[in-house]
């Protein structure tokens, strides 16, 4: 009887450890997915919310995105499977300071020029690939 009691206590303690480990695992997964999501294979550029172009991440390129009657410029660089804005005419330069993006769903937004660059997985969209 006494033995059964201690066994039950041990079991309960182990149960709690199991649940704690599972919860930690789930939280760790969440953090991992949030920070290390799957890499995309193309970037979609929109200007004023309208599709502008889609560029594959697999080949290096440099694109000038002119907006606002060609007065505004965001220079988009695709290099080694990552995309970033090298220079921009916007006042805040937030977009140019943004680190290179390459994970599915990541984006760089230039609010003043209304340019959004988003990483996509091209098999998920029907947008034409690599418009130059």
């Amino acid at each position: 009887m006494e033995k059964q009691k201690t066994t039950n206590k041990r079991h309960l303690r182990n149960d709690i450890i199991l649940v704690a480990v599972l919860l930690l695992f789930a939280i760790a997964c969440g953090i991992y997915l949030f920070f290390f999501r799957a890499t995309g294979d193309a970037v979609k550029v929109t200007v004023n919310g309208k599709p502008y172009a889609t560029y594959s991440l697999s080949e290096n390129r440099e694109v000038n995105i002119y907006t606002g009657n060609n007065k505004q410029l965001n220079r988009l660089i695709v290099k080694d499977g990552k995309a970033f804005i090298e220079t921009a005419t916007c006042p805040d330069k937030i977009c140019a300071e943004h680190r290179a993006i390459f994970r599915d769903g990541e984006s760089i937004v230039c609010l003043p020029n209304r340019v959004v660059v988003t990483v996509i997985k091209s098999d998920k969209t029907d947008a034409p690939d690599a418009v130059t």
């Binding site: 309960l12 182990n14 149960d15 649940v19 599972l22 919860l23 789930a26 997964c29 999501r37």
Partner: protein
């Protein structure tokens, strides 16, 4: 000979019970319709019971026959692969934990429910090649814990009602 008939009868009865529980579960409206994997796993009550009051072999038998029959009755081939992957992983984990005698019935059931969900997700990742499913996994771990507690408590109750092993 007599023993063989007994085994077949037991397996049949418990398989029928597991199928009824699977059917009952289909009648309950899903908690999250957009997340089809989130279920209580009621048939697992029978599997847990068998692990404690019969043996691993009968648990494996009942689980696999149950999945085969439920698929043929109410489901499709795609769902069969998910269920099978979930059931195999869940059975392996529960049999192992039962042998190790580290956890209570509820603990074994929780581990089984979470393993079931992980098995399903791994199969889906294999078939659909999607990274979005990773987020799904987190929801399934949480729901697995809740389902496992419920199933485990039911199983423990049943095990208490039948204090000796079935022969």
């Amino acid at each position: 000979m007599n023993n063989k008939i007994k085994t077949i009868t037991f397996t049949g009865i418990f398989t029928a019970l597991a199928i009824i529980l699977a059917y009952v579960e289909l009648l309950i409206p899903p908690l999250f319709p957009s997340l089809p994997g989130i279920k209580m796993g009621l048939p697992n009550i029978i599997i847990v019971f068998l692990l404690y009051r019969k043996d691993a072999t009968s648990a494996i038998f009942v689980s696999l026959i149950r999945i085969l029959l439920v698929t043929m009755l109410f489901s499709n081939a795609m769902a069969f692969l998910y269920s099978l992957a979930g059931a195999v992983l869940s059975l392996l984990i529960m049999i192992l934990l039962r042998k190790l005698n580290l956890l209570s019935v509820v603990g074994v059931s929780i581990a089984g429910a979470v393993a079931h969900n992980i098995g399903q997700i791994l199969m889906a990742m294999l078939l659909l090649d999607s990274s979005e499913l990773g987020f799904y996994l987190i929801a399934l771990v949480f729901s697995g814990i809740i389902a496992g507690v419920f199933v485990g408590l039911c199983g423990a109750l049943l095990i208490k009602k039948f204090p000796s092993k079935l022969h």
